[in-house]
Symmetry: D3
Subunit: 164 residues, 6 copies
C-alpha cells in the first residue's frame, strides 16, 4: 500500500525530496468545465468574433496560474515548465451549455506536472465565472480531474472515459 | 438583459470601475469537494489525530490562495479581506468518500468576494489532491459553486439546494 | 524647491507616510508605445479577427502588472485600485507602425496612481514585444510617460502635447 | 485568559474576522540585529561611502518584504500600509559588531501591523546575511521582537528594555 | 581575504553570475527559535492533539516562504528546490519555553540554499508569533543562524555548538 | 516568413513548448533611459555620495523585477536566471539629463532572456520615476530595446547603433 509522501517523521507536512529523481520530459493533461445559461453562452460565443473575449482572458489566466502552482499548492515543487496549452470546447447540456477546458503542461524536470495542469484548468474556469458573473451567479464549475500523465518512474496514468 | 461589465468600448477586457460603489460589509460562501477512495479516506481521517494532517495543509492553502485571488483572476479587484474561514465535512458516496469544502469570506470593500470564496475552495481541493496523489491519481474534484452572497447593491444570492 | 520624499534622516529609502493624506478619488493616465515592422503589424492586426490576439494578451498583462505595481516599484504604497483600462491605437511611422498604448487607472485611496498607470503601460508594451519577437527582435518600445493625473493635494498634472 | 483567535470551531486555522474593528491609525516598531565579524563590519561600513551598499539593499528588501507580509504569514490580513521606515545602527559586541535593525510601520486599517514590522526586520537581517555570506557564513541573526505598538482596541504595548 | 561578490564595478548590487558553477546536490540546515510563556506553551502543545495546530500552520508557512526566498532576498538566485523539511522541539528556558525550529533544504542547482533554509526558519518563527500574539506580544524570536551546509565548491560549513 | 509561435491551433495564446531546445548559456543586454530636469539630476547625483540613493534602489528594483519576468509577461517561461547586472550612465540632453540604463542577464536554460533584460530595464526606469516624481512629474522614460542577445539556435542579435 502506497504511503503518503508529504509527511515527515513528526507527522507534519514536508516538501518531498526529489533530488534523486531523474530529469525527464513529463506531461500532464487535466480537465475542468463550467456550465452557463443560454444568455451567457450567446454572449461569450458572440464575442469570439470581437477583439477581446472571455475565453482569451481565461486562457491567459490559466497559463499564468499554472506558473504560480508552487505558490498556491503548499507542498508543490517549483519546477521550470517548458510548455503550457489550454483548449476550449462547447457542449449542450439540457437547457444549458458546458464549456470544456483542457490543459496540457510539459516540463523537463524531476517531478510531475499534474498539479500544474489541474491548477491551470481551475484558474481558467474561475476566470470564466468572474467574467460572466454580472449576468448570472448560478454558473457551476464542473468536475476537475487528471486526464493523463506521462513520464517519471511511477508509470503513466490515463482516465479512459471523460467525466461529466 | 444584464451586460458583461468586464469589457471596454474596444471590446477588450478591463477591470471595472468600482470607485462609486459603497464600502459595505460583503460576504460570500462557496462550495467545492473532492471524492477519494477508501484508502485515502482512511489515511486522511486517521491522520486527524496526529500533529499535522492533510486538511490543515489544505486549510492554510485555501486561506493563502484566497488572499491571492486578484493575482490569479485577471479582472478581479484587489480588496482588503477582513475574514476567511474554511470548513470540511465527509460524506459517503457509494464506494468512495466525498470531502465537502465550504469557504466563507468577508470584506468591507466596494466590490464582492465571490471570486475569493471560489478561489479558496478550489485551492483547498487542489491541495488535498496534491497531498494524496501518491496513493491514487484518480481522485475527482467535484462541482465548485457559489452558495451564498450578501452585501452590495445587486442584491443577495442564495442557492437553495446543494449540488453533488 | 520640492524635496525628495523617499529618504529618511539617514539618507536611506523609506516608504513615505501617507496616513494623513485624505482618501479621495484619484486617476492617472499614462502612455507608452511600441514600433514594429510591417510584417508584425499585418500579423497582429490580421489576428484581430481571430479568437485570441496579441493585443488581448497585452491587455490582460497590463492589468495584472498594474495590480502588482507595489511589488515591482520598491517604495510604492499598496493601494486598492478601483478601475483599470487600457486602449490601443495604430499609427504609421515611416516604413513602420507604432502601436500606441494608453492606460487609465483609478483609486479611492490616500496616494496617487501614477506608478500604476506607467507600470501597466510598460507591461503591455513588453508583452507585445514578447508575443512578436519570434518575427523580429528589432522592435522598439517608445517613450513612456505620464499624460494626466487628477486628485490629491498636490494638484493635477496634464501634459499638453503627446510625445513620439 | 485570552484565547487563540486564529482557530475555528473545528480547531483549524482561520483568518480572524476583523470587519467590526475600527479603521484607525496603528503603528508598530520591531527590532532585529545581526552580528558580524570585524572583516565584514569594515567592508560594510567602508561601502557606506560608495554608491551602493549592503545596508541600502537590506533597506529595500525590508520594505518590500513588509508589503508581502500577508503572503508570508498565513493568517495575516492584507492591509494597505501607509508608511514603512527602517533604521540601522552599529554596536561593538566583544570581538564582533552588531548591526541593530529597527523597523517602523504604519497603517490606517482595522488590524495591527506587528507582523509587518517583524517581517521587515527579519528580511533586512536575512539580506545582510546574504550580501556578506561569501566572507563568513558564521554570522548570527540576533533576537527579533516587537518593541512597541500603538492603536487598536487591545491597548498599546511597549517593551521597556532592549534585548540582546 | 574573500571579497563581497554581490557588487558590480560601479559598487552597486548585482546578482552574481553562477553560470559556470556546477549543478550539484546542495543542502543547508538552519535554526531559529521562539520563546513563549507557559500559557502559550500549554495552549500550543495542547492543540497538538487537535486537527489543526499552531505548528502545522508554521510548518506550511516555512515551506511556502522557503519557495519565495528569491522574491524576499534581492540578490538571491531563483533555484528549483528539490526538498524542504522543518522540525520542531520544545525546551524549558527558566520560567518560559523555547520552541526550536530546524529547517533542512535541498537543491540540485548551481548555487547553495543557505538563504532558503534561513528564510524558512524565520518565516516559521514569525508565524508562531502571529498565531499566539493575541495571548502575549512579549514573545521573542531567538537567534537565527546557519547550522550546516554541504555541496558546492566553497566547501562545507558546520557550526559545532548550538546557540541560545 | 517566421510565424508567431505564441498561438495554438485555436488561435489562442499558449506558452510555447521548449522541451526540445538545448540548455545552453544565453545572455541578453537591454537598454532603457529616463530624462530628468537639472534639479532632479543634481539631487540624484548629489545623493551618490550618501548612504542610500535613487540609483541603488532602482538597481535592486530592476534585479527583483527581472526575477519576476515570467509573472509579468504572460507567455514567458519561468527559467532559473544565473546572473543579472545593471549599470547606469548620465548624458546631457539639451537642458535636461538622460540617465542611461543597461541591463545584462544570463541563464543556462532552454529559452532566451530577452524579456528578462527588457523587464529589468523598464522596472529600473520606472523606479527612478517613482523616487523623483515628488520633484517633477514631467520625466520621460526613453526608448527601451534589446541591444544584444547570444545563445540559442536562432542566432545572435546585435543592434549596431544606440537609439535615443
Amino acid at each position: 500500500m502506497a504511503d503518503f509522501t508529504h509527511f515527515n517523521h513528526e507527522g507534519r507536512a514536508k516538501m518531498v525530496d526529489v533530488s534523486d529523481k531523474p530529469e525527464t520530459t513529463r506531461t500532464a493533461v487535466a480537465h475542468s468545465s463550467i456550465t452557463v445559461n443560454r444568455e451567457i453562452y450567446e454572449k461569450v460565443t458572440g464575442n469570439l468574433m470581437k477583439k477581446g473575449d472571455v475565453l482569451s482572458v481565461a486562457q491567459v489566466a490559466g497559463i499564468m496560474a499554472c506558473k504560480k502552482t508552487s505558490e498556491i499548492i503548499p507542498m508543490c515543487h517549483p519546477i521550470p515548465l517548458t510548455g503550457i496549452d489550454i483548449s476550449f470546447s462547447w457542449e449542450e447540456e439540457e437547457a444549458d451549455y458546458r464549456l470544456n477546458i483542457e490543459t496540457m503542461v510539459k516540463t523537463k524536470g524531476n517531478t510531475g506536472v499534474e498539479m500544474e495542469a489541474l491548477t491551470a484548468a481551475s484558474a481558467a474556469a474561475l476566470t470564466v465565472y468572474d467574467m460572466c458573473k454580472a449576468v448570472d451567479k448560478g454558473m457551476v464549475i464542473g468536475k476537475t480531474y487528471l486526464v493523463e500523465k506521462t513520464g517519471g518512474k511511477n508509470g503513466d496514468f490515463k482516465r479512459e472515459t471523460p467525466l461529466k
